[in-house]
């Protein structure tokens, strides 16, 4: 039964008239009667209904009387038809609903006091509402509790078989990990095949369970809902920036919930295009690091080679004195700073202001440099916009989605739910170009498995195919004949057969993908870490723009070029100007007008009060300057370059070289152990601010608890340091900084709604394109694909349950996916090399070699091996060479060629 949504972007549903409780109501044809009734504001109880999936009709609560029918009907499974006369209230309906509650309650244990859902239970509410007292025929099920899963406990005694968990898992998330099983005379929900639950662990089944049948293992028995203080905030893991509720009791975080719940079950399916309200495993179960024992509680100062706990006053005094001394002795250019994109917009803004004005250096960078800036630079160059051009709604309603180099289910789980909804509800065709057989590739209509590192090549192949098959949009290309000519000339160097040979995708598949992309009404490109963190990220994004341009998808509603980001505020870091090339608002740092404006706003006389327009060092250059001794002091906020960059970057030597290394972090990181001063910073749960997610939506972060120990919010520390350095800052809260940003960047916050961006490709196409395009297609054919028996491509990437290094501090996520220290290899390769599970192999790259175990991973393609980038034990990252993009300064170190030998 496909009832929802009645309206999709292509078809507008017809309007029908019906009467509900004596009042005429207009509704869309084809929706369920329950939706129509709830649309009028009447609340008819329903326990198995949720607007995110099709009605299931098992609870028997949503009874209404329809004229012409003798018995009450279930309104959720009944279709609303024209001329229906419906009554939703009355004693007969009340009694019928009461009977339904009695039926459920008679097989439900009365263990409310020990149930985690007590006080947040729909059955409890319904029993109370209908005054159910007669439980003469009550029966106990005595089913043992399924505690085999790592995160959820299934107490099937309490289950009312509403099927919400199964439906949300199957329909909304397309994971399909749960099923009904008839066991011991009762219908029970079990994981597929009655095995221990093994899924994406998003916990949405837990959220929609109206009773306490599914409970959270990490907060089992720890709370009653009324004891918890609920704070609406934004998740700080990936760039999706999901809204969630951090629920605290006393001084600890007890659980994390999301807007998706059985409590808000009323809505229209089309509303889920903006997000269904759920969160992923990281958000829901990765909260334990906030009040972890490992948190830094006091500043640490290096004394006699040892980091010792020091009072704030002394530590901050040391930081200020030593920074001032270095600035006086070697000049402001000897100080540099790096900040993580997990900080709030206000802190990012303040950081660049402190670095540029209070210290006077332009050597600053953020973790957006690890990939997102490839995308930003490319779309700024080609389209004049500074972020992705579509939002979640566009992705959901797309007709064709080209997903390049992104394991989106694992990196950005909630954006992947948008893609899944596009597939399931709006019947989109999805082309996945990736070097791993990921979850989304399994769901996609056209999975194109390429050899690692050849994603960019396949994009060139797609363009060539578009040109060859004449799928070119005459209107778009006709406006720039010169540019189109240049593109045709450049693409002449590309041969589809050669692309097919190198990528491992057949010419027919490329042609089919190209025609699907070109012919669909709304085509969306999403490029992920495989592109933006690749060696030619900038070039490949520009080529993707070319593809959208020649197929006429630029500027059309619902079409666009998009990316996904790893850290929550990478977009915010770019927007706040935490990069040597940008001022806040992505104004160019060498733009005189912008310099004058910001210099004035920051209390300077002329643009000269800002650091010199040229010469600001980016991430890799900062590290190089540290090594050469040019930079004497390095200020790191939440950054951990030692654990992130391969050993070949000599990060350790660079960090040991500087005279003053300040590390400001919630945890004592590898880099922090080398630091001279370690300042304890708060996590997102202890501070106020905003994050800008990948859509450009500015989301509030609210304080859920008091800071742990003596840790302070980053903005507070920055304000103190700046004031100590003689640049008086009077911010008393993050709100004060926000007010300043609002003045300088009017409309940036925009009430949390992303402004629609219109791509402006004309300037680039008219000027500069023709000369540049040739070089973008010229590098074809240089890559050698050596297919020797033990030659492998070693890929490093993200796992579903982790985000950066931060999530490894969350014990819950470590429990779900710990560091096995094993290389993921495909079954075919394990058989070929004669390896068993856990066998040890020697992995050798040009940069070194190490011995580690192997494990089978069915997502890994033959000829590839994978190691999660979150773990450094063993240090697989050190096998990686680093290639730095000349234009964007983005280091690429996620792919290399290795040999694997059995030891």
């Amino acid at each position: 039964m496909a009832l929802k949504p009645a309206t999709n972007p292509d078809v507008e549903a017809a309007a029908i008239e019906l009467t509900i409780d004596g009042r005429p109501v207009t509704a869309k044809d084809g929706v369920s009667l329950y939706d129509v009734v709830s649309g009028t504001g009447k609340i008819v109880p329903a326990m198995c209904y949720h607007y995110t999936f099709d009605p299931f009709g098992s609870c028997g609560m949503c009874l209404v009387m329809v004229e012409g029918k003798k018995a009450p009907v279930r309104s959720c499974t009944a279709k609303a038809t024209a001329g229906m006369v419906v009554r939703t209230e009355g004693d007969d309906l009340f009694q019928a609903r009461k009977k339904a509650v009695e039926k459920h309650l008679s097989v439900h244990p009365l263990d409310c006091p020990v149930c985690d859902a007590d006080g947040h239970c729909e059955l409890q509410d319904m029993a109370f509402l209908h005054q159910v007292t007669n439980l003469a025929n009550a029966k106990q099920k005595l089913i043992p509790e399924d505690t085999r899963s790592l995160v959820l406990d299934f107490n099937m005694n309490r289950c009312i078989a509403c099927g919400e968990c199964i439906n949300v898992c199957k329909d909304v998330l397309m994971i399909d990990a749960l099923q009904f099983v008839k066991k011991g005379g009762f219908t029970q929900v079990v994981a597929k095949g009655d095995q221990p639950l093994s899924c994406e662990f998003c916990g949405d089944c837990l959220a929609v369970c109206p009773v306490g049948a599914i409970t959270n293992k990490f907060s089992k028995y720890l709370y009653k809902p009324w004891q918890l203080q609920k704070t609406t905030t934004t998740c700080n893991y990936c760039g999706d920036g999901c809204q969630m509720y951090v629920e605290t009791k006393d001084r600890e975080v007890v659980r994390v919930t999301a807007p998706l719940s059985w409590k808000n079950k009323w809505g229209d399916r089309s509303e889920t295009a903006k997000g269904h309200g759920g969160i992923c495993v990281r958000g829901r179960f990765g909260f334990e690091y906030i009040d972890s024992q490992a948190r830094l509680k006091q500043p640490l100062l290096r004394r006699d080679g040892q980091l010792t706990e020091t009072p704030w006053l002394e530590a901050a005094g040391q930081v200020v004195d030593r920074l001032a001394a270095i600035k006086a002795k070697h000049g402001p250019q000897s100080i540099a700073g790096l900040i993580t994109a997990r900080c709030t917009n206000e802190e990012l803004y303040l950081f660049q202001k402190v670095m540029r004005v209070a210290i006077g250096t332009n050597h600053l960078d953020s973790s957006a440099r690890y990939g997102h800036l490839s995308f930003v630079h490319a779309v700024r160059r080609a389209l004049g916009v500074g972020r992705m051009t579509n939002d979640w709604e566009d992705i959901t309603k797309a007709k064709a989605i080209l997903l390049v180099g992104s394991n989106i289910t694992e990196t950005n789980p909630l954006t992947s739910v948008r893609v899944k909804e596009a597939i399931r509800v709006y019947k989109a065709q999805v082309i996945v170009v990736d070097s791993a057989n990921t979850n989304i590739a399994g769901l996609a209509s056209h999975p194109l498995m390429v050899r690692p590192g050849t994603e960019g090549l396949l994009v060139q192949g797609l363009i060539k195919s578009v040109l060859q098959q004449d799928l070119v949009d005459e209107e778009a290309t006709g406006r720039h004949p010169k540019a189109f000519g240049a593109l045709k000339k450049a693409a002449a160097a590309v041969s589809l057969n050669q692309v097919a040979a190198q990528t491992g995708v057949s010419v027919e598949q490329i042609n089919e993908a190209a025609s699907i992309f070109a012919e669909a009404l709304r085509s969306i490109v999403i490029c992920g870490e495989g592109v933006v963190r690749g060696a030619h990220g900038y070039r490949d994004v520009l080529n993707l723009v070319d593809l959208a341009w020649v197929t006429g998808k630029l500027g059309k509603p619902g079409c666009g070029i998009n990316t996904v980001t790893e850290e929550v505020n990478e977009q915010g870091a770019v927007d706040m100007g935490v990069a040597p090339e940008f001022l806040p608002g992505q104004a160019r740092f060498d733009d005189e007008a912008a310099r004058a404006r910001f210099a004035k706003a920051w209390g300077g006389e002329s643009p000269a009060s800002l650091p010199a327009a040229q010469g600001g060092a980016r991430l890799i250059e900062i590290l190089a300057k540290c090594r050469s001794g040019e930079i004497k002091a390095l200020y790191l906020i939440g950054e951990n370059p030692l654990a992130t960059l391969p050993a070949s970057m000599n990060v350790k030597a660079a960090l040991e070289q500087v005279e003053l290394l300040i590390c400001q972090d919630p945890f004592l990181t590898e880099t922090g152990r080398l630091a001279h001063v370690v300042l304890p910073a708060c996590t997102y749960a202890e501070k106020e601010g905003t994050f800008t997610n990948l859509e450009g939506r500015v989301l509030r972060v609210r304080q859920a608890m008091d800071p742990i120990g003596e840790s302070l919010p980053d903005w507070h520390i920055l304000t103190a340091i700046a004031s100590g350095l003689g640049y008086q800052m009077d911010y008393e809260s993050a709100q004060d900084i926000q007010n300043e940003i609002m003045k300088l960047l009017p409309g940036y916050y925009n009430l949390g709604q992303p402004r629609k961006l219109a791509p402006k490709p004309d300037a680039y196409l008219a000027d500069g394109y023709a000369t540049e395009v040739k070089s973008r297609y010229a590098s074809l054919g240089t890559r050698q694909s050596s297919m020797k028996a033990n030659r492998f491509s070693l890929l490093m990437g993200q796992l579903l349950s982790h985000s950066g290094k931060l999530s490894t501090h969350a014990p819950g996520l470590i429990k779900i996916s710990s560091n096995a220290g094993r290389l993921h290899v495909s079954q075919a390769d394990m058989d070929r090399l004669g390896l068993g599970e856990g066998a040890r192999v020697r992995v050798t790259s040009a940069r070194g070699s190490l011995v580690l175990g192997v494990q089978m991973d069915r997502t890994v393609m033959p000829g590839c091996c994978f190691f999660p980038e979150h773990f450094n034990e063993p240090p697989v990252k050190d096998l990686m060479p680093v290639e730095v993009d000349a234009v964007t300064g983005v280091p690429s170190f996620k792919l290399t060629q290795v040999t694997i030998e059995k030891v």
Partner: protein, 195 residues
């Protein structure tokens, strides 16, 4: 004033009538049994319904009755109860109170917590002598409450019966929760009245 009334007044004054009137009360009390008794040497008999110090009770087999459901905390009008609940580390899937505090200085002895308790783990005893020099000892913790419970178990049971919370020991056993077993490990056999 009439002559009769005046005569009566003079007569009363001559015979010290007020004194005799007052002495009547005194003499009457000489023949009463004394109401004051020699506390603390003599103790008063206290009714079963008396609301004294709170106690936590155990079952006959020594297991704690309390399941840490936090309902007493919710019912307490003076907010003097704090329950920290958790999964019993020795018995998987069983909920218990890992910590339990009653700030008896705040307690108004209303008995709502006892009424709220679904397993009759809380009871009030006849103990009312817990004055102390150190106010801190008046924050009763779990150990103290169980000590009171062990010492005044009879008081507690009588209190529950007097307040119609349970009829007898048999009924208290029926209130005992059955926690489901884990599929991994059997932890608790279902009680007789359920199986």
């Amino acid at each position: 004033m009439s002559v009769g009334a005046l005569t009566k007044k003079i007569l009363q004054a001559m015979l010290f009538h007020e004194i005799w009137d007052a002495m009547k009360v005194t003499f009457k009390h000489m023949f009463h049994r004394p109401i004051t008794f020699q506390y603390p040497r003599e103790q008063r008999t206290i009714p079963d319904t008396h609301r004294g110090a709170l106690a936590l009770l155990r079952y006959d087999d020594g297991r704690e009755r309390c399941v840490g459901c936090d309902l007493c905390e919710a019912a307490c009008p003076s907010r003097c109860i704090k329950v920290v609940s958790a999964e019993d580390p020795s018995l998987p899937l069983q909920r218990y109170a890992s910590e339990f505090y009653i700030d008896i200085t705040k307690c108004v002895f209303c008995g709502y917590c006892v009424e709220a308790c679904p397993v009759n783990a809380l009871a009030m005893t006849k103990l009312y002598e817990f004055s102390t020099h150190d106010k801190r000892t008046l924050l009763f913790d779990k150990t103290r409450l169980y000590q009171i419970g062990e010492r005044y178990i009879e008081d507690g049971k009588k209190y529950l019966i007097a307040h119609h919370q349970e009829k007898d020991d048999q009924m208290s056993r029926e209130y005992r929760y059955y926690f489901p077993q884990s599929v991994l490990k059997a932890t608790q056999a279902p009680p007789k009245h359920l199986s």
